[in-house]
Symmetry: C2
Subunit: 345 residues, 2 copies
């Protein structure tokens, strides 16, 4: 049995405690400084405040002040921070990693630099580790998985990606259960770009739900227009993943992740509001000003594409849907899905 330390007790980090602990490993769940109440609650009740079932018996809970003892002699660190905690994780956690211990991250997103290069968080953190002279390997999880369904033992299929396949297979052997099914791949940029991009495109599919609510009432869902945007999203995602050097297999991971994300949480809610006719500021105000990863990634990818298009490297006409999402989220444009452009492929 191994010792698995999870840093970040948000929903996804906490959910991974279930297969890990059920497999018999020692599981140490460490809250970030923002997670103090979660760890307090879990210590007392054995339950995450957002889950409807208790953690498996024996999960150990740590506030961040205790992170050093939580990391002591561990075999795997799971990074469970959101994309807004990427810098924090680099500064507060990476320097503390024991030698040789791999990191498995659930954080989804992409970074863009001023020349239009997109990179993923595992690459960003690996560079930080190199600068620190540390030998830890960064791996990551992508694929269609909502935390509460994982907690509920729903059948789930994900991809673990990293440079070192034998290491990934070892981590898989620790984490896989009869409901948590794990592919392994060395296509890090492919998986990471797929699961980041799906956020922007899930917003796009949700726009059509809102448009139909406005037109026909909220009583029933319509699907022709969702499917049309899903089709166009698949096409643009495939092209973007290829552009970034990712494989077709990683694209399939993104398709599955897009499917699950259309139905989950805040991205859907903001997309529906936009489709109903609110602008982005109004929509975010209604959702109490939450910052959405879906909005960030669309803006970053659009920025990268525009910089590359200015150099003649890409044709923005290949990405009419993403460009429109960017106009909506970055420039407060009202929704006007460019349907006819989807026929020109």
């Amino acid at each position: 049995m191994s010792i698995i330390t999870i840093i970040g007790s948000g929903m996804m980090g906490s959910a991974l405690a279930f297969p890990a602990r059920e497999n018999g490993h020692t599981v140490r769940l460490v809250g970030t400084p923002l997670d103090r109440d979660i760890i307090d609650t879990a210590s007392k009740s054995g339950q995450h405040p957002k889950f409807d079932r208790k953690f498996p018996d024996g999960v150990e809970y740590y506030q961040f002040e205790e992170v050093s003892s939580a990391l002591s002699e561990c075999d795997l660190v799971i990074g469970g921070v959101s994309s807004f905690g990427v810098e924090w994780f680099a500064q507060a956690v990476l320097p503390l990693l024991p030698p040789g211990v791999p990191v498995l991250s659930v954080t989804k997103g992409l970074l863009v630099d001023d020349t239009g290069n997109l990179s993923c968080y595992p690459h960003f953190w690996q560079q930080k580790l190199d600068m620190l002279g540390k030998d830890n390997e960064l791996c990551a999880i992508g694929g269609p998985c909502t935390s509460y369904e994982l907690v509920g033992h729903d059948q789930t299929l994900v991809a673990f990606c990293g440079r070192n396949i034998p290491l990934l297979e070892k981590i898989k052997s620790w984490m896989a259960t009869d409901y948590y099914h794990i592919m392994t791949t060395d296509d890090v940029i492919g998986v990471e770009s797929a699961v980041a991009l799906k956020n922007g495109y899930a917003l796009a599919v949700a726009l059509t739900i809102g448009e139909n609510f406005k037109r026909c009432g909220r009583e029933e869902l319509h699907f022709n227009s969702q499917a049309a945007v899903f089709l166009q999203s698949s096409r643009e995602m495939r092209k973007l993943i290829k552009l970034l050097g990712g494989s077709e297999e990683s694209f399939f991971v993104g398709v599955g992740d897009l499917y699950v994300t259309v139905y989950g949480g805040r991205t859907r809610k903001v997309g529906i509001l936009l489709g109903e006719g609110f602008d982005i500021d109004e929509a975010l105000a209604k959702l109490q000003g939450v910052t959405l990863e879906s909005l960030v990634v669309a803006g970053r990818v659009a920025k990268a594409l525009k910089l590359r298009a200015a150099r003649g490297e890409v044709d923005l006409c290949d990405y009419p849907l993403l460009m429109h999402v960017d106009e909506i989220v970055s420039n407060r444009q009202k929704v006007a899905i460019p349907w006819e452009k989807f026929t020109e492929f």
Copy 2:
């Protein structure tokens, strides 16, 4: 303005009367011998019994006895029969076609021969036309489109496929509206195999809905397992379309069509019953013995793959999901989704 004759007044054939007539064309809707009541009703009330809005003013209704006058001087024939009317269409309609008039078919499905070759209905009918010495061009429609949403003017994106792109563009100019958006492509086998295959895979996604209903109750939908099977379906569909010589673009049409089909009609219902634990005979009995295109296509494609695998041309391990669906529908096997096989890609 043109004269457009629709043969087959089922839901999809009838739905196409809407954009055609709204664009100002003469539209003649001809019932098959099975459609007698539909034509009677539409003649009296101006409405299809399964639609919640009236046909546009001016649509003309014909019983099949009047097909010759309905075909007189027409510019386009739309074939609106189901896959169970393919032979009938070949025998009863193709010989009557006026010279040079193109056919646009909505019939979805694949045919298999005893050597494992799969072919699509446009090819089948084109061969019949060649044997008759007729010069009509067979074109077809694929893509995500439910008839009742098209009737409701929902935004819809489809592909018209055929050998002759200028002809397809002409037909597109007759049929496209501000809600009916049309791609054109000469990849007939790609589009036709994509839209046929999606039936079998939509059944597969629905299995997981039924399994979760059984496990957790029918109150709420779960999505991790749907998305996992959607991921695997995309992967297998891409491989199958490639095997049949179709393009990546047609695969995207299939992905959109799969998305819409998961939510529509009888395929979903039978998949849910199977997932809840009924065998195929029990499930079909509950649905009053309807014969489903989704069941037929899965069996035919599985037959083709097995014949080809016996010759060493394909590896059945690439299609674990389709093979399982075939076991369920052809051999009354109970549902046992091979989750772990989806990790071995």
